[in-house]
């Protein structure tokens, strides 16, 4: 009785085409990617049919959470630093190098001016936690401009061509939005872009 001969096959698979495809994909993703800016709080934007795109540069982002906390930031680090400088001069604050370094790693400002120094002295992990409970106040200081308005003004000074993009949570009460918008209107900032998700399939 002869045993059934199992043929020894070469099970080598040629990976070359696969690695070709992979390289292509990798190149595609590397070239098209813009990195997600970390945001202090999670915001679910409402959907709309509008297809206008947000410009890439010179955008002043105003982030409003569903509990009414306001954060402000721009993607240009130089402008951010200029904003901090203006605010520091105005309110007589000074920051040490560690605080400035912490600030430059942040994508958005969200602390009241009284708490800004303490906030920037925190460790990186604590900062991410702390910012969620802070937010820029919109109450006017002694009947004058509010801290929020001061920040917007500082941003305008840093870069006069900035467009204002408002990113707001869908569940935010209109009261908060109204307060913020009327403060912007008081400063003659009347054009905004509201960031929304694209709604599919309704016409």
């Amino acid at each position: 009785m002869g045993k059934i001969k199992i043929q020894k096959k070469d099970i080598w698979i040629d990976m070359t085409p696969m690695s070709d495809v992979m390289t292509l994909l990798l190149c595609f993703f590397m070239l098209t990617s813009t990195f997600l800016q970390p945001e202090p709080i999670q915001v679910n934007t409402p959907s709309s049919v509008s297809e206008v795109k947000v410009p890439e540069n010179d955008v002043l982002n105003i982030l409003v959470g569903n509990d009414g906390k306001i954060f402000i930031g721009t993607e240009n680090k130089n402008n951010m630093n200029a904003m901090l400088q203006t605010i520091a001069d105005k309110f007589g604050l000074s920051f040490n190098s560690a605080q400035l370094k912490n600030f430059s790693q942040e994508s958005m400002v969200g602390a009241p001016i009284s708490a800004l120094g303490d906030y920037l002295s925190l460790e990186k992990e604590q900062m991410a936690e702390a910012i969620k409970t802070l937010g820029i106040p919109t109450d006017s200081i002694d009947g004058g401009m509010s801290e929020f308005q001061e920040w917007v003004k500082a941003a305008r000074e840093a870069n006069p061509d900035m467009t204002i993009a408002i990113k707001c949570d869908a569940k935010t009460p209109y009261k908060v939005v109204k307060t913020m918008m009327s403060e912007l209107q008081d400063m003659n900032e009347n054009r905004y872009r509201l960031i929304t998700n694209l709604k599919q399939g309704e016409e």
């Binding site: 080598w12 990976m15 070359t16 696969m18 690695s19 992979m22 390289t23 994909l25 990798l26 993703f29 590397m30 098209t32 990617s33 813009t34 990195f35 997600l36 934007t45 409402p46 959907s47 709309s48 049919v49 509008s50 297809e51 206008v52 795109k53 947000v54 409003v64 993009a165 990113k167 707001c168 949570d169 869908a170 569940k171 935010t172 009460p173 209109y174 009261k175 939005v177 109204k178 918008m181 009327s182 912007l184 209107q185 008081d186 003659n188 009347n190 054009r191 905004y192 872009r193 509201l194 960031i195 929304t196 998700n197 694209l198 709604k199 309704e202 016409e203």
Partner: protein
């Protein structure tokens, strides 16, 4: 002996194992895929009226009553509208409607002005024609031309004929959500309404709405 060695060398396999490379690529791709935002968020252009108190009533454009619709956004996603100028002593002029196609949109489309036309329906029809012309095969219309014509349509100039347009005043109550506001703006866009404004609730409005029992 020497000959044998030579022949052995010839048989050596020159295949390179790509598996580790593929592994690494996979990891990199996964990393980039997770870190990217492929679709950029869309935005909505909004121009608010100036808070400047110096503007007198004469400078603000005045529109006819039948060309105006006021929309109130209430709590719990409720929406109400007043066709024409609100009569502040008559709560019956405030009507409730719903969101979407069969609600506020059909109100806007069916609204008839004193000239006896439905401007929103006419403008939407003209916009459809414009879209059809743009997407028609062999069309040479550029984005710029399209936007220019669309602007003309929104102003009420349809094929050289001037029709009156509606002015929509959106008044969200404090209890409305931001989502409601965006949805209302969306309807303006869908209905190609050129003139709309987000306004604050005045004490008169408050009185009217409380008469109607709206919070």
């Amino acid at each position: 002996m020497a000959k044998k060695k030579e022949s052995k060398q010839k048989k050596m396999n020159t295949r390179v194992d790509f598996t580790p490379m593929v592994d690494m690529m996979m990891l990199l791709i996964t990393f980039f895929m997770l870190c990217t935002t492929l679709s950029k968020p869309s935005a909505m252009q909004l121009t608010m009226p100036s808070n400047d108190q110096k503007l007198t009533d004469e400078e603000k454009s005045v529109t006819k009553a039948s060309h105006t619709i006021t929309i109130y956004l209430g709590s719990n996603d409720k929406i109400y509208y007043v066709a024409g100028i609100p009569q502040y002593d008559n709560p019956e002029c405030v009507k409730e409607t719903t969101w979407g196609k069969d609600g506020i949109r059909s109100v806007l489309i069916k609204h008839t002005t004193e000239e006896g036309i439905n401007p929103v329906a006419r403008i939407m029809k003209a916009k459809q024609d414009l879209d059809a012309r743009k997407t028609a095969p062999g069309s040479t219309m550029t984005e710029e031309q399209y936007n220019k014509e669309l602007d003309e349509l929104r102003k009420g100039n349809i094929n050289g004929e001037k029709i009156p347009t509606l002015t929509i005043i959106i008044k969200p109550l404090d209890t409305a959500s931001y989502n409601n506001m965006v949805e209302a703006l969306d309807e303006m866009q869908i209905c190609s309404i050129g003139k709309y404004v987000i306004d604050k609730i005045t004490p008169d409005d408050e009185k009217l709405l409380s008469l109607k029992g709206i919070k």
